[in-house]
């Protein structure tokens, strides 16, 4: 490069970085697809994910992920506390296989570590004895509203947050702002829905005081689809566009 013009040197540096980036981050599509798959599978945990039921009983914490009636809270709990580590194990195996094949490593282990720490924190938080609202049949929702503190706490007591945390950190490790934003989107929708609800946001925008019961107004199915859509789009785009071709120069 010393005999080349500065412009040629810059062009060569950019070309090398582009190739190196494609090689290093070309495998991100599968981990994101796994995380999106886990999120989409969670729709099966709700008794009525798309249609509004005449009556429902909601258990807190929202082990299915979002505030709605679950088929079985134990099944929801097992789904996230077994499914999330299993998904992480699959992602780790993928990255290890890629390292052997491609010879380049990215900081994927930080993402999985952050997700697992968040999952453990959720388990600890859920185990802290607090006065939880009783299961309330929708027909008797004129009961006292839960306190603001407990409603805000509900926002972090959802197994969707560890998944969102893992996605955000994976985005940082993979140098992708789009993935960081997709993880942030999952966290935002989950937190809002578990606290005041998406319907409650519209109430705030209207200038009225949101009720914590507004979080039961929106069905979980469409919300999970909306949360997973950026992840699915990201995974599909990367899978098609950025597979590393070792011969491409």
């Amino acid at each position: 490069m010393t005999t080349e013009s500065p412009e040629q040197v810059l062009t060569e540096v950019r070309r090398l970085r582009r190739r190196s980036k494609a090689r290093a981050h070309g495998g991100v599509w599968l981990p994101v697809a796994v995380l999106a798959g886990l999120l989409l599978l969670s729709i099966a945990l709700y008794t009525s994910p798309f249609r509004a039921p005449h009556e429902m009983t909601v258990a807190v914490p929202f082990w299915a992920g979002l505030p709605s009636e679950q088929r079985d809270p134990t099944l929801s709990y097992a789904f996230w506390f077994v499914g999330t580590p299993a998904a992480f194990a699959l992602i780790a195996a993928w990255y290890r296989w890629r390292v052997r094949r491609v010879g380049v490593r990215v900081g994927w282990h930080w993402a999985l570590a952050a997700g697992l720490v968040a999952l453990v924190a959720l388990a600890v938080l859920a185990a802290v004895p607090v006065e939880l609202p009783r299961d309330v049949p929708l027909g008797t929702l004129t009961a006292d509203q839960p306190s603001l503190g407990s409603v805000l706490l509900d926002g972090v007591r959802t197994p969707l947050l560890p998944l969102a945390v893992a996605t955000v950190v994976l985005g940082v490790a993979e140098g992708s702002r789009a993935l960081v934003a997709a993880g942030g989107w999952v966290a935002l929708v989950a937190y809002v829905q578990c606290t005041i609800g998406v319907a409650g946001v519209f109430a705030v925008l209207d200038g009225s005081r949101p009720s914590s019961f507004a979080r039961y107004d929106t069905r979980p199915g469409p919300l999970v689809l909306a949360m997973a859509a950026p992840l699915v789009l990201f995974a599909a785009t990367r899978a098609v566009r950025a597979p590393f071709r070792s011969g491409a120069r």
Binding site: M1, P6, R23, A24, V102, R105
Partner: protein, 106 residues
């Protein structure tokens, strides 16, 4: 031209600006770690030539060399240090200023 502003070529670092070493930093900048073999193939170098340049960069504190195993095979991993990332950033910035200065004015 402003005489008070130093010429951009003065900001170029001799250690970093060398052709192969700049290539090494560019490849390593996009990954956490990279194997010796990948870097050698990417830059089309011999083992000896690459080792010589790696030693220079390691002595300057711009990269770290870690010997390990990948399965049962011995493997040498290379990682850019924070100083190495900063050095590459400064070098690219200096080159961009130089290109802008050399560009004919319309």
């Amino acid at each position: 031209m402003n005489e008070d502003v130093p010429h951009p070529s003065l900001a170029l670092d001799e250690t970093v600006h060398q052709r192969v070493r700049l290539g090494i930093l560019a490849v390593l900048s996009e990954a956490s770690e990279c194997t010796f073999a990948v870097l050698r193939d990417e830059l089309d170098l011999t083992d000896g030539n690459l080792s010589r340049h790696l030693r220079v960069l390691e002595e300057a504190g711009l990269l770290e060399i870690r010997k390990g195993y990948e399965g049962r095979r011995p493997c040498t991993w290379l990682r850019l240090t924070a100083k190495g990332r900063a050095a590459l950033r400064d070098e690219v910035a200096a080159l961009e200023r130089l290109v802008a200065r050399l560009r004919p004015r319309g």
